[in-house]
Amino acid sequence: MNCERDEELLTRGLRALAEEMETLKAPDELETKLLEAFRARAVVVPIARKQLHSRYWLVAIAAMLLIAMSIVVVRWRASDVNGPHQTVAQDARQNKPDVISKPSEDPVRDVEYQAVNAPGKRPVRKPPRHAALRSPENTQLANHVTNEIATDFIPLSYMNVASLQDGGQIIRVELPRSALANFGLPVNMDRYNEKVKADVLLGVDGLARAIRFVQ
């Protein structure tokens, strides 16, 4: 009985407390302060949001550029791996008609010529990694116009692949025939004193990077 009465009195007491506090509210100056803070924030936030959005755009653009660059690099590497074979094949295509049509007037020269151009015996040297950087137009034009037969470019021992990235220049020179031996090519001893034509690939620094022999 007492418990029920206590419960009821407690409820009444709590209700009285709630009624008394119902009119309480935060001081008015708090609203003023909050509104001032809101105004101050309103000046800053849109700028921050704008920066945030522009940052997202920058990140997105950077990501797209990165993806595009990675695709280019992957393709470039793939073409680089296939490049030497294509170069050899192109050279073979270019050389093949000449080889067939070449009249064998001089047997010794033929031997030397075949030693240089024979597919089986020909010392196909691995072209430099960036051989694709050389100007194919120039090479094809020279071979096509003059009807010359040329070996592949043989890299010189001090060749730095990275130095070819800036481009280069091909210069036609004449060398003693004995120079063929320096590159592992057979030499016709009967014509030992004669000159042989060669194209020297010069880097931008003026140093010879590679050489090919022309007939």
Binding site: N2, C3, R5, D6, E7, L9, L10, T11, R12, G13, L14, R15, A16, L17, A18, E20, M21, E22, L24, K25, A26, P27, L30, E31, K33, L34, L35, A37, F38, R39, R41, A42, V45, P46
Partner: protein
């Protein structure tokens, strides 16, 4: 614009930079937040600070409000609760209360009657109940404040506290028992001690 927008619309407008929406939302909800903080802490200073913190939080991070999880009112009271509890922890560290608060509440009942609430005037009743509520552990105090003083439903209280409705009910039951125990005069205890002594002597 809706002449009587609901809290969610006001919050959205406020986040979009509408100062009027903030003012309206503040006027609509500041009372309950202030009272909740005051009833939880017993300090006007803390109540004002908490009210301010709640609305500053709403300005800064109001976008975290999820209508699927409850009303704006419950959201604000939940934020207020976190601020009050944090502030009370700090206050407790600075000035530990110990059992003094309990003593203060009991000392307010000079009457020797078994049902002192009957004889107390309304003002005395209110003051004693207020002190008794303040002396409760926070987990019981908050359910009393929300369910009894703020007259919030059990369901919404559960949302504010982040617990089950059953937990709210059981805590409220326990809190009322504690309040009754605190509001009973210490005479009972003295009588009991006397009886025990008599038994000893017997």
């Amino acid at each position: 614009m809706d002449p009587n927008p609901n809290d969610i619309e006001l919050l959205r407008s406020m986040l979009a930079g509408d100062e009027g929406a903030l003012a309206l939302l503040y006027r609509r909800r500041q009372g309950s937040i202030y009272r909740f903080a005051l009833q939880m802490s017993g300090s006007k200073t803390i109540a004002e600070d908490v009210t301010q913190e709640v609305f500053l939080f709403l300005m800064r991070e109001g976008y975290v409000f999820d209508p699927a999880r409850g009303s704006v009112s419950a959201f604000l009271l939940g934020v207020a609760r976190n601020h009050v509890l944090r502030r009370l922890r700090v206050e407790q560290l600075l000035a530990p209360l110990g059992d003094d608060s309990d003593d203060d509440v009991q000392s307010l009942h000079p009457s020797t009657d078994l049902c002192p609430l009957e004889d107390l005037t309304r003002a005395e009743t209110i003051e004693s109940v207020r002190k008794a509520v303040l002396s409760l552990p926070s987990k019981y105090r908050e359910v009393v404040v929300l369910c009894e003083l703020q007259d919030i439903s059990y369901g919404e209280t559960a949302e504010i506290l982040g617990c089950a409705i059953g937990t709210v009910r059981s805590r409220l039951h326990r809190a009322r028992a504690l309040l009754l125990a605190k509001l009973r005069p210490p005479v009972e205890a003295e009588d009991a001690a006397t009886v025990k002594s008599a038994r000893c002597f017997a």
